[in-house]
Symmetry: C2
Subunit: 170 residues, 2 copies
C-alpha cells in the first residue's frame, strides 16, 4: 500500500463529503474550497474514486458527488487504494529483474516489508469514514511508549494490537 499526499487528499475530501449528511449531491467546487485543494486536481482524484465505486455523481446544475454507501461502510483503505491505484506487484526494491531471491542476506528484508504493509493495511481497513467523522480514532500514542527493542525482545505483537473502534486495529 502506498501512502502519499494524494491518498490523504482523497481521504480529506471523502471526509468532507461524509460530513454533508444531506442526500443532496455536493459540488466539487465546494469541497475544493473547503479543503483548499485545487479543483482540477480533485477532479482527477474523484474520477478514480468514482470508478472504484466509492462515489456517485450527478451532472448538471445542482449536481455533484455523494457517497455511494453509508460512511460506516467505507474503509479508509478503500479510499487510499482507489486513489493511489497502481497496485503493482510487490517488488523488493527498485526493480532488479531477478526479483529478490538473491544470494547472501539479500531479501531477508522481504518478509519485513510484506508484514509492514499488512500492518498498515490492517489498520486502515479497521477505520471507516464514519469513525473519522465522529472522531472515533483512538490513540495508542501514550499507552505504549516506544519501547526499547534492546536486550530482551518483548513479543512483537504487543505493539501491534489494541482493540479498535469498529474492528480491531492491526
Amino acid at each position: 500500500m502506498k501512502l502519499t499526499t494524494k491518498g490523504r487528499y482523497a481521504v480529506m475530501a471523502m471526509v468532507d463529503l461524509a460530513t454533508c449528511v444531506d442526500d443532496k449531491p455536493v459540488a466539487l467546487s465546494d469541497i475544493a474550497d473547503r479543503q483548499e485543494i485545487s479543483q482540477s486536481y480533485l477532479e482527477q482524484l474523484f474520477a478514480k474514486l468514482r470508478r472504484c465505486g466509492l462515489l456517485d455523481s450527478v451532472r448538471g446544475p445542482g449536481g455533484g458527488y455523494m457517497l455511494s454507501r453509508p460512511a460506516a461502510e467505507i474503509r479508509i483503505s478503500d479510499i487510499i487504494l482507489a486513489a493511489d491505484e497502481p497496485l503493482k506487484a510487490t517488488r523488493c526494491h527498485t526493480g532488479s529483474p531477478q526479483g529478490c531471491i538473491g544470494n547472501r542476506g539479500r531479501c531477508l528484508t522481504h518478509d519485513l516489508w510484506e508484514e509492514l504493509s499488512q500492518q498498515v493495511h490492517l489498520y486502515l481497513s479497521s477505520v471507516t469514514l464514519d469513525d473519522v467523522v465522529n472522531k472515533r480514532i483512538i490513540g495508542t500514542a501514550g499507552r505504549f511508549n516506544a519501547q526499547p527493542a534492546a536486550p530482551s525482545i518483548e513479543t512483537p505483537q504487543a505493539a501491534t494490537l489494541v482493540g479498535g473502534s469498529v474492528a480491531e486495529r492491526v
Copy 2:
C-alpha cells in the same frame, strides 16, 4: 515517519552488515556489490547512519563499517528514522500556514494520520535487526482477518506494498 526506498536500502545494508558476524569491519564496496546499490549512494546513507550512532567506521586499508551495538539492540525504526531523517513536524497537508485547525471537517483526518504514524512506528520499533536476520518476522496476514468495517465488504486483499518510490511521512 517516512517510508521510502531510501529507508529500505538502509535496512538492507544494515541487515547485510549484521550477517557478517565477524568483529572485522566490512568495506562499503562489499556491501554495495552484494546489495546492488551504488557505492556512492550507500556512502551517503551510511554517513547518516553513522551520525546517528548506529554504525562505527574504521578508516584506512582493512577498514570499513560495523554495527555500533549488537543487532538485537538496533530497531528497524532507528534505521529508517536515521536514513529518512527530515523529521519534520507532521503537517497535515502540503503546508498551509494556518496549520490544520480550520473550519468544517478539515482536519478530522489529523488524528487518523497521527495514529497511523504511531502504528507504523510501533511496529517498526518492535522489530530488531536481529529479528530480520534470523527470520523472526511473524506474519499477521492470516491470523486476524481484516475485520469488515461494515456489513459486507470483500476482504481487503493483499496490501500492495510499502511505498512504490516515494512514500509517505505517515
